[in-house]
């Protein structure tokens, strides 16, 4: 079975097949032998071989959960399982998106960034209340300029522009409650 996995700024192709009690996992031109045990609903204990060695000895615990940053309605990988995960591994938290091979389409390949150059959607990262809208539709904005302030968890959080542009839509007004993932405005 072959998957496309988006991690960091690249898409990696991973092919998994079973060989006896072990899995053989091909990625980046090498095949790793993997011994895997499920040790919880969403936690795997994997022993992974190094490169071409046949004995899986590198111990890796990987805990997966649906990405905390992904907007609601993120695409699903298969059978209703979310395809956007935060993976806890070796003390790190690594966001990935995974699909059956080909499902991402051809627009992205290894080396191309996930954040493109198209319109920039300003999204509330948490549930909260809009306490100030600092720009209006049509305004020119500069990179790092404040656009809107959302109050949540007793802090005012100013959302800023990633790059220069012009405000297209302002979708919220002062006082409005917003959910995590709500698009607050779009900057082109």
């Amino acid at each position: 079975m072959t998957f496309d996995v988006e991690v960091g700024d690249a898409i990696r192709t991973v092919t998994v097949h079973r060989k006896g009690l072990l899995l053989h996992v091909a990625i980046g031109g090498r095949t790793h032998v993997v011994d895997v045990r499920r040790v919880g609903d969403a936690t795997l204990s994997m022993l992974v071989s190094n490169g071409d060695a046949t004995r899986p000895v590198t111990s890796v615990d990987a805990a997966l959960h649906p990405s905390a940053a992904a907007a609601p309605g993120a695409r699903l990988a298969a059978n209703g399982i979310p395809g956007a995960f935060d993976i806890h591994l070796d003390g790190r938290t690594i966001p990935v998106q995974i699909r059956q091979a080909g499902a991402f389409g051809r627009q992205k390949e290894k080396g191309t960034g996930v954040t493109g150059t198209g319109p920039q959607r300003i999204v509330s990262p948490m549930p909260g209340k809009v306490v100030r809208v600092l720009v209006a539709a049509g305004d020119e904005v500069k990179a790092r300029q404040g656009l809107v302030v959302v109050e949540a968890m007793k802090m005012e959080n100013e959302l800023r522009a990633d790059r220069n542009g012009r405000v297209r839509d302002v979708a919220v007004t002062v006082g409005q409650s917003v959910d995590a993932g709500t698009v607050l405005m779009v900057v082109e």
């Binding site: 009690l21 499920r38 919880g40 997966l64 990988a77 938290t93």
Partner: protein
């Protein structure tokens, strides 16, 4: 003292409950609507509802909380930190209702709670303060007047809430043009956090270290200082990492700072636990910043370096006991300790709050590790309160050992379902300036450049590859829909560990 109501929530309520348990005292928790299933409610002996989720309607309701204390038969109230902990009206209301308030007198709270009055008290006690406005700037003071006062002090300067604490209502102002918007934001935050929009101005010391002295003071005239804590690692003017002792404090400086702290506390007739915060300038001079008239978030590092339980002592002092601790011992660190505050925030996204359900939780253990937490697996971090979910403390014979243990403990710590500040700490603990203790309160901003920029800990290729393998293996081996267990046996399957074949 047989029963204590804890007028707080989260990890600090859990911390106080544990101290009460250790002393054989019954505990009463209070909870807002969204906190019904919070850990402090589950661990307490009793739990009383105090209103809707918004703090103003529950944890800040003096009347409701005092009534719950009376009805529950509690004979004392512990305020924790935040909420009503530094509210003199609450302390007075407890006293008036015949309840022992586990903290200083309302008068001491009022004195030190006004940051401007506190500055005057420090000056009177012979302790230097940072130059600034000596009178509060009220809500209605026109911007023009503030601009004039600011010009006298000089830029850059700090705008601070008179009723401040926890970094709220605080802004750095680089020049006059920024003053009006900063003033508006600080007033609004101060009003929202403390119900008081008054602010004051203070000269900004450019690269200060934040050093503070913990005190205990009993009702018999004894005031004892503890070895200092260093709290220079801050973001948004809020501490995020603390350690004790400070590498910047020599034995001589420790003697002078702790003496100054005691002088201020004695000047205001202080009792119970409190902390004097200082700014330590690069030239070795130090300035009184403010006094926190309550338990600090970071009190555990002092506990592990001195072996003293500060919360138990708060209770003992409140019931009239004499401080019989050896003063020398409190100033002689037995270990080096470090604390990292685990926030439900996304450090890759400007420390934005990241509330939500904790779907999985693995907490570190082993030698030299303490986790003071209000979280559990399955709990939802609410959107209404401070996003700190736990405090991870490690210690060792040396600073290096404490740091090594912190790195290990953070690697064991998994909080799944939300983003946390754990990756930030992992980056920080590998930074050579941090490792050499070359830092001040500007450390995070300097290191991160403009906040909100990129990831702190670039994931290397090897770990990206392992993550890709894990994701693929997870989907490849997931139990297929067809063979899912029936509902009745689901319950037995919880957390099962099975060979995949």
């Amino acid at each position: 003292m047989k029963k204590i109501l804890i007028a707080n929530r989260g990890e600090i309520a859990v911390r106080v409950i544990r101290a009460c348990r250790d002393m054989g005292i019954a505990t009463v928790a209070i909870y807002s609507d969204c906190d019904r299933a919070a850990l402090h409610v589950r661990l307490a002996d009793e739990a009383w509802p105090v209103g809707p989720s918004a703090p103003r309607e529950s944890y800040l309701r003096i009347d409701t909380i005092v009534e719950a204390a009376k009805k529950s038969g509690a004979d004392a109230v512990h305020p924790g930190y935040g909420f009503l902990a530094e509210n003199e009206d609450f302390a007075a209301a407890c006293r008036d209702a015949g309840l022992i308030f586990i903290g200083p007198s309302p008068e001491a709270i009022a004195m030190m709670g006004s940051k401007t009055a506190a500055r005057q008290a420090a000056i009177a006690a012979g302790v230097a303060v940072v130059p600034g406005t000596e009178e509060p700037i009220g809500d209605q003071t026109p911007d023009a007047e503030v601009v004039k006062a600011a010009a006298r002090i000089g830029y850059p300067l700090m705008l601070k809430a008179v009723a401040g604490g926890g970094g709220k209502g605080m802004r750095t102002v680089a020049d006059a043009a920024d003053l009006p918007s900063a003033l508006r934001a600080a007033r609004s935050e101060a009003q929202s956090a403390f119900g008081d929009g008054a602010v004051y101005l203070e000269r900004r010391i450019m690269s200060p270290r934040h050093i503070e002295v913990q005190l205990l003071a009993d009702h018999h005239g004894t005031v004892l200082p503890f070895v200092e804590r260093e709290c220079s690692i801050q973001r948004r003017h809020q501490k995020i990492v603390e350690e004790s002792p400070s590498l910047a404090v020599s034995p001589d400086l420790r003697r002078r700072m702790t003496s100054a702290a005691v002088a201020v506390a004695k000047a205001v007739g202080y009792t119970n636990a409190g902390t004097i915060e200082f700014l330590l300038d690069a030239d070795g001079s130090f300035y009184f910043l403010e006094m926190n008239t309550r338990l600090q978030v970071e009190h555990p590092i002092t506990e592990v370096v001195t072996g003293v339980d500060l919360v138990q002592w708060q209770i003992r002092i409140a019931r009239g006991e004499k401080l019989d601790l050896d003063p020398e011992r409190l100033l002689t660190p037995q270990a080096h300790a470090i604390e990292c505050r685990i926030y439900a925030e996304d450090p890759d996204n400007g420390f934005m709050p990241s509330p939500g359900r904790i779907t999985g939780l693995r907490v570190p253990h082993g030698p030299g590790v303490r986790d003071d937490s209000g979280a559990y697996e399955g709990w939802e971090v609410p959107i209404f309160y401070d996003p700190m979910i736990s405090k991870l403390v490690t210690w060792g014979e040396t600073r290096d050992q404490a740091i090594a243990r912190m790195k290990r403990a953070l690697a064991e710590y998994e909080v799944r379902g939300i983003r946390t500040t754990i990756p930030f700490f992992q980056w920080m603990l590998s930074d050579e300036d941090f490792l050499a203790a070359r830092f001040d309160t500007t450390f995070i901003d300097r290191k991160r450049g403009v906040p909100g920029n990129g990831v702190l800990q670039p994931i290397d290729d090897r770990h990206e590859e392992l993550a890709a393998i894990a994701a693929a293996v997870f989907l490849f081996t997931k139990p297929s829909a067809g063979t899912a267990s029936a509902p009745a046996s689901r319950w037995r399957d919880t957390g099962r560990s099975e060979a995949l074949r």
